[in-house]
């Protein structure tokens, strides 16, 4: 099993004795490349978070994004937490993410288990029906027309149901379920457990790693949902966070209730730079990802690889 080898490999910490010792230049080169790679990702994030915490003075002194900590203030967060538009979009994003992830997980786990049993009736044609959608889709316009025809325009469910099932995720979970020992399942059946009971009490408890990763994938997808909101939600009172960032940070429109002007220039009288407020909203969308990430990260390889390169 790939994952098993990967695990034991990580624990090998010593250089095998047949390998030539590393050259100092080689080591330095490697270290430099890795440091640059890490910096390219980490420095912009650091600047985003720091700018959101900076006073107007610090932002002005830096001329924009802040790299070196100057004056620190939570004023930007106080402003966005009292801003009706931002708070409402935060609630929308959280709601879409929670409801959507629950729906997606239920549908995915059920389908994955329903298709994972060897020799079950018609599982091959059904599987084929699902996989076809990975390679051919009707495209944007027909999907838009169908969702609109079903009343999805201006409705929150248009951000959830059209993207609720990922066939790839079903395949990942299914591959994991199919690895559950058949003896264990047979034993459960003999003891009188039906398929529902077996799924709940035998299969799910042994598949926590993969369900955690897949749940993270779904949750991140809902949290990041943007285009469907652009397509289906015309009213900014229903927008999720990503739409708010797009409109008020990326496009630089004035955010209602922050006293920020359209050109993104600073008001001399403002206590806080508009840039700090914008970056505070950006940081707000980073926080949930950063909170969940450490708990799921060690399972990534397990979740991704099983579906992707088994065999």
């Amino acid at each position: 099993m790939t994952t098993a080898t990967a695990k034991t490999k990580v624990k090998v910490n010593a250089r095998p004795n047949w390998e030539e010792p590393p050259t100092p230049a080689g080591q330095a080169g490697k270290g430099l490349i890795l440091a640059v790679v890490v910096a390219v990702v980490a420095v912009p994030l650091w600047m985003v978070v720091l700018t959101s915490l900076s006073t107007q003075g610090a932002v002005n002194e830096a001329g924009g994004m802040v790299l070196v900590p100057g004056g620190i203030t939570f004023e930007a967060y106080r402003q966005i937490f009292t801003n009706q538009l931002v708070m409402h979009s935060l609630l929308v994003s959280l709601g879409i993410t929670i409801v959507g992830t629950v729906i997606s997980m239920v549908v995915t786990i059920l389908a994955a288990y329903g298709l994972s049993r060897q020799n079950s009736w018609a599982h091959r044609p059904i599987l084929l029906t699902l996989v076809v959608t990975m390679f051919f889709s009707g495209g944007l316009i027909p999907t838009f027309l169908v969702v609109s025809a079903l009343g999805g325009y201006d409705a929150y469910w248009s951000l959830i149901l059209p993207t609720a099932v990922s066939v790839f995720n079903i395949l990942v979970v299914r591959a994991f379920f199919a690895n559950t020992s058949q003896d264990l399942i047979d034993a459960a059946h003999i003891d009188g457990a039906g398929d529902w009971r077996t799924l709940w009490s035998i299969v799910l408890p042994t598949s926590r790693a993969v369900t955690a990763v897949v749940a993270l994938f779904y949750a991140v997808g809902y949290w990041n949902t943007f285009f469907n909101a652009l397509l289906f939600l015309p009213d900014n009172q229903k927008w999720p966070l990503q739409m708010v960032i797009y409109t008020y940070t990326l496009q630089g429109n004035a955010m209602p209730g922050t006293g920020q002007n359209t050109t993104g220039q600073y008001f001399g009288t403002q206590q806080i730079a508009p840039l700090a407020i914008q970056m505070a909203v950006v940081t707000l969308t980073l926080i949930p990802i950063l909170l969940v990430y450490p708990f799921v990260q060690r399972h990534f390889a397990k979740g991704v690889l099983l579906g992707a390169i088994k065999g």
Binding site: E20, A111, L115, L140, P142, V220, V282, Y293, I309, G311
Partner: protein
């Protein structure tokens, strides 16, 4: 997907197949479990698939699908005579090619580099940092790029501060394709290494030892053991990439299209969006989508065929 193949061990375990009817009765609950997924896919994938028929209509939102007049290939004639359509096709293909050359090798190289680092702590740290941007939305990633490289971004503050000429990368149509590619590298290259790291870990260590005993240095070992060892995965990733040649980050381009203008930024997907949804010319948009869908399918089958000819598995086995 290869995940479709059943493990042979399971086959040996399975009891002899019972009668068809009995199997149906036995598997009722399994079938019940599949229903929600099938319903969702039918409604939001299969119905739209048949909805592509609007490409052969002069679709009007008031008449609806059933009452709009059929016009045969007229929509496609309009599509193919629109220079902007050909321009967006060209942009799409050029972007794909640039990404193939400048993006594709990076995760492979990075994975090999990281695999050679023996210190577990450093490896884990680098991995957790570089995976992170994969979980950001494009809105977030582009916002960060704008704050770093845009006209008022960190780079230009630095240039201005040192009396140098400023350089607005975000709105320059000439360098736009490089910008798009570097955004893809920033966001996805780290995540892309996962598959290659696993493939590297699966290579038999004894091969390296034997090669070293035979006098092969580290570069020759890389060339004769490491690269052939991950060839299958590289080919698989290439097949997937080729099948997606006509798909280049829709959201990513959509949100940056206005900053550089459609000359540089219009691709097939954004073309379909602007004609279909924004200008409400649904039939033309559907025709552009259908053109893309059919060609992508042909491409992925062709790429898979090539993989088979090279003696690799590709997406599915023969």
């Amino acid at each position: 997907m290869t995940a479709l193949q059943e493990a042979p061990a399971e086959k040996a375990n399975a009891s002899p197949p019972p009668q068809r009817k009995n199997r149906f009765r036995r598997d009722r609950s399994l079938l019940l479990m599949v229903i929600p997924a099938v319903v969702l896919l039918v409604v939001f994938n299969y119905v739209p698939m048949f909805g592509t028929a609007t490409a052969f209509q002069n679709y009007s939102i008031y008449a609806g699908f059933l009452h709009s007049p059929w016009v045969g290939l007229e929509t496609f004639r309009m599509l193919f005579s629109d220079p902007l359509f050909w321009h967006s096709l060209e942009n799409t293909l050029v972007l794909s090619l640039v990404q193939l050359v400048f993006y594709f090798p990076i995760p492979i190289a990075l994975a090999m580099l990281l695999h050679s680092v023996l210190n577990t702590k450093i490896r884990t740290f680098v991995q957790s940092v570089v995976y992170l941007p994969h979980f950001f939305s494009w809105v977030l990633a582009v916002t960060i790029f704008q704050q770093m490289l845009g006209g008022a971004g960190a780079l230009n503050q630095f240039l201005r501060g040192h009396g140098l000429a400023t350089w607005d990368i975000m709105t320059n149509p000439d360098t736009f394709k490089i910008l798009i590619t570097s955004q893809v590298v920033w966001k996805e290259a780290g995540w892309g290494i996962i598959v290659f790291l696993a493939a590297l870990a699966a290579i038999d260590q004894q091969l390296y030892e034997a090669a070293a005993a035979d006098g092969a240095g580290r570069w020759r070992r890389m060339w004769h053991i490491t690269l052939p060892g991950i060839r299958g995965v590289i080919v698989l990733m290439l097949v997937l990439r080729l099948g997606n040649v006509l798909t280049v980050g829709f959201e990513q381009l959509l949100i940056q299209r206005d900053a550089v203008g459609r000359e540089a930024a219009e691709v097939l997907d954004t073309y379909a969006y602007y004609y279909g949804v924004v200008n409400a010319n649904f039939s033309l948009g559907a025709a552009a989508s259908l053109f893309k869908g059919v060609f992508s399918l042909v491409l992925i089958l062709a790429a898979n065929k090539i993989a088979h000819l090279m003696g690799e598995d590709g997406l599915y086995r023969r």
